[in-house]
Amino acid sequence: MGRPAHPHAMAPPKPGRTRTAPPQMPSTWWSAPRIRNYLLFDATGIVYYLISFLAIGMVQALGRGPGAWDAVMTRLQHPAYIAFHVLCLVSVVFVAIRFFSLFPKAQPKMIGPLKPPPASLIHVALYVVWFGITAVMTAVLAGVIF
């Protein structure tokens, strides 16, 4: 893992004015919290990939009829699926916390003629929307409302 990454990987076609050192993965990445969290953030991509394909399969089963849908819902009771969904829940919470803290820092200085809202306000707003959507989704899917 000590091998330098390709200096032009995912880089723009024209180099910038400022010369930069080639990125290099430290050989002790697992014991360095900043890069470990960065890599874990990337690794949640695997979970997002898998949960999407599982959900696609569920919607296809819904389209096939009650037999296929009931079979899918029964399969989800298997401990392997439950363990996978625990991993998914941990992943989405981790992504949300990390992304919501990054989002305000990624705002431009000006949005047209306006300044973006203060970072703390954006941060709180993201949490409010996330909790709100999660509460509504949970209540609807669990049959509490509608």
Partner: protein, 125 residues
């Protein structure tokens, strides 16, 4: 292939960004109920019986906004692009930069195929 990926990068970043933001917001409730609360018996399985699941998936707002299908389509498609982009990034970080073009095309290709299959499944309900 990398030149092509750089050309379509704005599109990739659009889908990736929405995958993180909207995908995460929609997935949390879905995982909680569909993946955990119902399988563990904490919520009655009747909440997502076939009839109720189908009526939720095909529900409309004000009679003309197919809210159920829109939410489902976003939930199926957007996380795929977050997944593709982050797995590509992980691959580069672990020394795969020389194969970045091929791997990137493969990962986004899977996301694209998954998106089409997902949308077809949702529209077909």
């Amino acid at each position: 292939m990398r030149a092509f990926l750089l050309k379509i990068e704005p599109l990739i970043w659009l889908m990736f960004g929405q995958g993180i933001l909207i995908g995460t917001m929609l997935l949390t409730g879905w995982i909680l109920v569909v993946g955990l609360l119902i399988p563990l018996g904490i919520v009655d399985a009747g909440a997502l019986s076939y009839d109720r699941a189908y009526s939720l998936a095909t529900a409309s707002l004000f009679g003309f906004v197919p809210i159920g299908k829109l939410v489902l389509a976003a939930l199926l498609v957007l996380p795929l692009w977050k997944g593709a982009h982050h797995v590509r990034s992980l691959h580069v970080d672990f020394g795969g930069a020389e194969r970045d073009g091929v791997v990137g095309m493969l990962l986004y290709g899977i996301a694209l195929v998954g998106s089409v299959v997902g949308v077809v499944a949702v529209v077909g309900l």
